[in-house]
Symmetry: C2
Subunit: 446 residues, 2 copies
Amino acid sequence: MTNTNPARGMRDFLPIDVRKREFVIGVIKEVYEKYGYEPLETPSIENLDTLTNKYGEEGNQLMFKILKRGEKLQQELAEGTIRDEDQLSDLALRYDLTVPLARVIANHRNDLPKFFKRYQIQPVWRADRPAKGRFREFCQCDVDSIGSTSPVIEAEQIAAVSEILNRLGFGDFEVRLNHRKVLSGILEIAGVHEDSHSDALVVIDKLDKIGRGGVEKELKERGIGPEGLARVLALAESGTAATMNDLEDLVSASMVGAEGAKDLEQILGFSSEDTKIVLDPTLARGLSYYTGAIFEIRVPDLAGSLGGGGRYDGLIGMFGKEEIPACGFSLGLERILVVMEERGMFPDDLPSAPADVMVTVWSEETLGESLKLAGELRDAGIRTLVYPQTDKLGKQFKYADQIDVPKVCILGESEIEKSEVSVKDMKTGEQKTVGRSSLVETVKVD
Amino acid sequence: MTNTNPARGMRDFLPIDVRKREFVIGVIKEVYEKYGYEPLETPSIENLDTLTNKYGEEGNQLMFKILKRGEKLQQELAEGTIRDEDQLSDLALRYDLTVPLARVIANHRNDLPKFFKRYQIQPVWRADRPAKGRFREFCQCDVDSIGSTSPVIEAEQIAAVSEILNRLGFGDFEVRLNHRKVLSGILEIAGVHEDSHSDALVVIDKLDKIGRGGVEKELKERGIGPEGLARVLALAESGTAATMNDLEDLVSASMVGAEGAKDLEQILGFSSEDTKIVLDPTLARGLSYYTGAIFEIRVPDLAGSLGGGGRYDGLIGMFGKEEIPACGFSLGLERILVVMEERGMFPDDLPSAPADVMVTVWSEETLGESLKLAGELRDAGIRTLVYPQTDKLGKQFKYADQIDVPKVCILGESEIEKSEVSVKDMKTGEQKTVGRSSLVETVKVD
């Protein structure tokens, strides 16, 4: 017999799972719309050329590639001449939402406004080793603002993401904020050669995990003197948030660092005081393509982040001729869902039952009348289920109980005659008979 | 330079496209929810085993298969030992929503109610030759009711689908209705041997395209005497809708045919008189797995159908031990969109602009105030864009015009001082200055 589990790292979403996902996605969409971000969707499948070498060696490895089709492959198979992956694949599944965005921007430059703010909520696929909270198909919720270098862009993204998290009920998140140029300044002042900057950042990024001692050891192993970094490491280790002054002090001797600090100051200036933004001079983030501010959302009970992003002015233009400034923020839907589940944050009124009311069926003869009643309830916007066939009433109630439907309507011959309906509240067990014309009201109000 | 078009048969959806799709999907969801169908989602990727040989030879050909990953493939490539597709692929993209449903039912039998009504709106992928309205990634909107053989199931699906089409504004659709057993009865009476039933149905299904003469010719070519089918062909050709009496007459001499007719009579009895249901004894539909009623939605200006479905009591149990009754209906989102586009059926209030209001920026100094104003508008639920940087006011207006935003707020130094805002209506060109506290009202009411 066939294995009926979903494929490795994949998930089925039963109704309650879908409702939870759609609740979160609904909040994300609503807030992004309010901020003037527009929806964009790109195909799941891209030409392999579009994606290859855009995500480093790891990306090339983890990409799901699609087998070529048609006679040529069959012929090569028959002839035994297949030696190379290029002969096998021409397409691949979307690996993130940024490279497709860059492709769309290049392709539709004239159909899109010069400042293009888009959100995109779609699955991506990575053949990663599955682990807790890590899946091979997962949903990314991205916003990106294309075409402006103004710090307003960053401030608005931070505001939008904060509003989303507040509305979902995260009271305790913080937005960690840093700047690639601040990091460059710190490293420059510490005397780290530019060629070693990437290396150094990878190590500093681990501060959370391996502590100051670990970072210093690893820096030494890579031939980077950690002495010059003592101040920033001490600052981060102290656990107290860095102030704008701390940051300016740290980088005052570096021109590029000072530029970064000034940029952050503006972003903070444009941000609401209600948002908890924490300057974190050790925040490094993936790093390869960021060029300006970088940010990350943290909550206390999650080791990783709920999302993050930053400015990347070099990437979006990759398929075109001109460099196009851009800044983006990606929320991790799967992680948000994990934390919300653990904390019990979903609203009580998320439907757990397939319907609000179930109409029972008395007999073959009255079935039509039950359907008519269901139609009346549905016309009033009430989610209504009809027991689909005749059956003992006890069995119908048992079913209603199993599916957790809050109210059941009974429509027997006597009720039909008197134009009445009996309504049973499945929680209290209470049953009352009401006139057909006041049924909608009864079911709604109760 | 890389080709920046989407891959063959794939599409990018720009904001207005997404909004149109989401409008239709929103109506579909809302109606299905009201009828007590629950949402289900399955992964895009399935184990190849799950899908292979479920869709006939064509399905095996058109399925997008995923290349294996990892060292084994690399080794086989290096050794030149690849001769067979089995060595190359272990996964494939979802080809429809029915087989995954069957897998989920088998896998979650105990978590799901015995009558499970689910809807599922997700893309599927087929490596078909792209054509007008035919894409390699397209969205299916399926409802299926599992677990009951009652004709109530069919009647409810017809009612739900009809409500969707009515709400979308299709005033002229009809639901064509037939029954596999009626078809069997007709063929039985016509003296067609059971082994030739499938062949005969394939031919009869073409009546629309090749006419009566064509059908009779093809039937003869396949060795099927068309004489016995004269009545049904004449009936269909006459263009007048068959009545229940016609149907009963046609199949009265066949037991199985009479069973089918009785079933249809019940379905009609449970259906609203407002729904235009047309009995069509020549409707055959894909046919391979249907066992009972079959239906199809037709509109005058589309050669194909907007959707269709039927009862298939043998399929859902394929991954389990027991046979499970089921009936399903699939709406073709892409076709619905094509017709709605051609007929101009989308509502006027579908947003074409990224926002309802754009706030301009007077100067570097007032930028913060512009952001604050935008925040106030957003708090009132108004979709608001801020021009992201300082620029000549003329340029900002030109931009607002380009993106088609209906209202623009001007917040200069004098306005800020007096706690006022100037609002320009971009359609009329009219501009007026209002107190900050009545801005929301002004922008909303106007």
